[in-house]
Symmetry: C2
Subunit: 551 residues, 2 copies
């Protein structure tokens, strides 16, 4: 065998531990040292909110591996409560300090893997030290301790972790208020999709305050906006993270303007003997600029890639899609790729599709409605992003679309996917197929209008025709619409010849049939994408006026 | 507008109705006639077994569209209880007969779409007329009528419909026996995967008789095998189907050797004015010969393609993957593409991968174990097929793999898929990612052994090492294995240098770690694919001897 090499991994969670165990599988003789500042390596950080709520009852279930077990199985030298304090890239040594004894040691390395992660941001407001954060088991323990005896909690930040915490604090019986600066929850979703999650949060009895700044934390309250006080026995800050890249910066490694460590396609930093993975590292995105993406799956994958490169078996990372998911109060929201908001901001020519199919055949009990969105490159028909919200099946559909994106399938090709169908699992035309059919229709020249484009079109003289039934229209309608139920449309078609008409139904499907019909009568016609349901979610999110009761 | 064209569709379910409604959307002025021999068009044939069991309570829920509603919305001339009795391709006319009045009419067509379907085979045995079949609502009604007051049912045939019926008859409280000629249930699965379904059927209290022929049906019993009688108040035959291609044959259309209608990539038959879709039509398969594929999703898709081609917007069909799924006694079994059995019969060089991951993170409540199988082309790393069986999440994983196949992803590329992860939905390394990691390892030269290859290897002198724990080994072990728990393997590695060793664990993952370790000590090593779990399912299915208790 070759000479013994020494690999040092800084940070023993997710990416770091993936790198360490992969290195062992590739090099049985290497000396592999894992340095972790905290008390635990390889813990289930995505599970922390669920122990707060008692959904995961057993705290030990969150500790996936112990240093001793890793030592035994993988012959790793795992040092917890040990901090790396300086790297000398020229000498190829890293100085580490035992936090208990204060003793320091300089370790020479052949390759160094940084997996320092990102830490919750503490915003500069009065009383910020009273706010708790959630990153590791100790933070979780502190939140649980504070929740005992507390009755009112404020969670600042409506991102994934903030919402999961809010749900779990509510589940513990606390009166929870979420305070979010932005006009929506969950930025990886567009506003009309995020609105569905916001509605569910409110229905569950949690107070959601959007476009509201946290300005101070008092003893038993927080102060928001213009000085309003909200009572709070417990305040959790979940307003974003900051990369722990100080060590990398001090070592002279290249960072981006936000302080994230820059790596090449093989996870190598600007130093040829130092690799980096995980939440402190910038990632190449599909169809967009390199950005941080804080996802455990990517951290694990990149840990493996770093190990492969170090061991002389380089594989390039594939660009990140940023696939993300949350389960909240019985609802699932999942997304992949880029949002309409981002792409419109960049001036990209895109097609947007909304649909509201059932998760499985309507004739089989228990079917629930999904809200789905697909974002497509107008020139190439390539899929740029997708979002799904529903009680069941949203995860499956986003996984399928993420896979289609990885395989380079066009949006229209989603129609041809052969997905498993029996009535309890899907429909003969799966929701993903439906998106493909609509994409194919649009690629073929059919016109649609987005919910946020409707008012401008109406102002420009387009006639809005509601092709739903009388009953549906009476229950809630779009201002300015004229009702002609689909089954009576043929009789009225000649009268619309030469006119510009937007048709709409509840979800878009009858609208499509109506549009095809009118087009053949010489009407210039567009279908309101996603129908009344998408429009009403968008209207509710942005304060557009509605007529009648929203469905 | 152009001259009025006449389109005739024969068969008003699935593919036929998709063609009819699509034709209307493409040609508002056409005359569109749908001829259906039965009483209903557009009914939910995949739901029929579930009304037998009362899972779908409302019979009307199975009737998706009525002729009147279709007439109103799509201006279709729908004629139920009307049979097409002859086609004159030269004159372009079809003769139809009203089954109530006996009146006949010759209808000229510009294009004809055949969607005749396939009918259940009635095997030539004494008493076959006593056997019921399940194809339409009338058949379903007959089964329900027969089940009332019955206590014992025999279902002949362990395909999808047979098993669904068996479950639903059991659900009604009947004592059910399934009789199957083949040595396994569900032929789209390999035997060790089908075994998991067979075990579940037996655990649920249904008698499953494999390799058993039905030879006669008596009044209150059936006769099987060498004359054994099984009591039966109710007998359902579900032993395969036969294409209803008599009309096509009489019209001189090209059929394959099994009598299925041959079409081109645009669903056009050998006659330029006649198209055909659905269960009576042969389909081009991915990686294999053209075969029938009886799936509703394909029928719908091909109906649309036929309409597009007729309307002058031809799109070629993509080759069929044959994605199929069944839910049975709380278990889901799904498959896509080709089986190991078929490919080995054809002499194809393949790699086979089994794994048994949890459907979601083990630290989150409710995780259940999946059995997954991937079949890969040895030369190209292309995915040829996959199978999944489990209580939750099998549908999602097969849909993802079907999409990867459609996108031309290699098996190794499954490792890089970015699938949605939160602990209640998946693991940071999703089961599909795990298959990709294993495929990548095998593509990189690691060796594995299949459960059915093990005995020959042992006979050839390979040493079988069980790297599980003492407790696992004591609960059930493979004959001839030697126990060296993984965490003690390093101490024994030198002693194995130069030897040929097969390692195995429970599912294959510790085996992989063991193999990587031993290889670096100069051992010629292979990992038993899928570990003890796959081996024991294969052993149970094929009657191999086992040692101790099966897990």
């Amino acid at each position: 065998m070759s000479e013994t090499r020494t690999y040092v991994i800084i940070g023993g969670v997710a990416g770091g531990m993936s790198a360490a165990t992969r290195l062992r599988r590739l090099d049985e003789r290497a000396r592999i040292i894992v340095v972790e500042r905290g008390e635990h390596v390889s813990f289930a950080n995505c599970g922390l909110p669920y122990h707060v709520g008692g959904v995961i009852d057993d705290r030990d279930a969150l500790i996936l591996q112990t240093p001793a077990a890793l030592g035994e199985r993988f012959a790793l030298d795992v040092r917890v409560r040990t901090e790396a304090i300086a790297i000398d890239p020229d000498a190829r040594t890293v100085m580490v300090r035992d936090l208990a004894s204060g003793g320091e040691e300089s370790i020479p390395y052949d390759a160094l893997v940084l997996s320092p992660g990102a830490s919750p941001v503490r915003i500069p407001i009065p009383g910020v030290e009273r706010g708790l954060v959630l990153r590791d088991l100790a933070d979780m323990d502190a939140i649980i301790a504070a929740a005992k005896g507390a009755t009112r909690a404020v969670v600042a930040g409506a991102g994934f972790i903030g919402l999961e915490l809010a749900e779990n604090l509510h589940h513990r019986g606390l009166d929870v208020t979420i305070v979010e600066m932005l006009p929506q929850v969950l930025r990886p979703f567009d506003v009309e999709m995020a609105e569905l999650v916001a509605q569910r949060i409110r229905e569950a009895g949690v107070t959601l305050r959007l476009e509201t700044s946290l300005v101070a934390i008092g003893d038993k309250h927080v102060v928001v906006g213009e000085g309003e006080q909200i009572p709070a026995d417990l305040v959790v800050l979940s307003v974003g993270v900051r990369p722990e890249s100080g060590l990398a910066r001090d070592a002279g490694l290249a960072l981006d303007e936000r302080g994230y460590i820059v790596v090449d396609d093989y996870q190598r930093t600007s130093d040829p003997h130092i690799w980096a993975v995980g939440d402190a590292v910038v990632k190449q995105r599909v169809d967009g600029p390199a950005t941080p993406v804080w996802l455990a799956g990517l951290a694990n994958r990149h840990g493996r890639l770093a190990a492969d490169a170090i061991a002389g078996r380089p594989h390039a990372a594939v660009p990140a899609l940023g696939t993300a998911i949350i389960g909240l109060f019985g609802l699932t929201a999942a997304a992949v790729g880029r949002t309409e908001r981002e792409l419109r901001d960049e001036g990209r020519a895109i097609r947007v599709i909304h649909t509201h199919p059932l998760d499985h055949a309507g004739y089989y009990p228990g079917a629930t409605q999904l809200a789905m969105k697909l974002i497509v490159d107008e020139q190439t028909d390539r899929i740029l992003g997708a979002q799904a919200v529903g009680e069941s099946g949203a995860d499956k559909r986003i996984d399928v679309i993420a896979t289609a994106m990885a395989g380079g399938l066009t949006a229209s090709a989603l129609a041809d996917l052969e997905l498993a169908y029996a009535p309890q699992f899907a429909s003969a035309k799966d929701p993903v197929n439906m998106l493909g059919y609509i994409a194919d229709n649009l690629a073929g020249g059919e016109q649609s209008v987005q919910w946020h484009e409707l008012r401008a079109r109406q102002a420009d003289g387009w006639i809005l025709v509601d092709v739903r039934t009388d009953e549906e229209n009476a229950a809630g309608a779009i201002p300015g619409s004229r009702l002609i139920p689909l089954d009576e449309l043929r009789e009225h078609a000649e009268g619309l010849r030469g006119k510009r008409v937007i048709v709409h139904c509840k979800v878009g499907q009858r609208g499509h049939t109506a549009a095809r019909l009118l087009e053949q009568y010489g009407v210039t016609v567009a279908n309101l994408d996603g129908g009344y349901l998408t429009w009403s979610a968008g209207a509710a999110a942005t304060g557009l006026p509605t007529k009648g009761h929203a469905a």
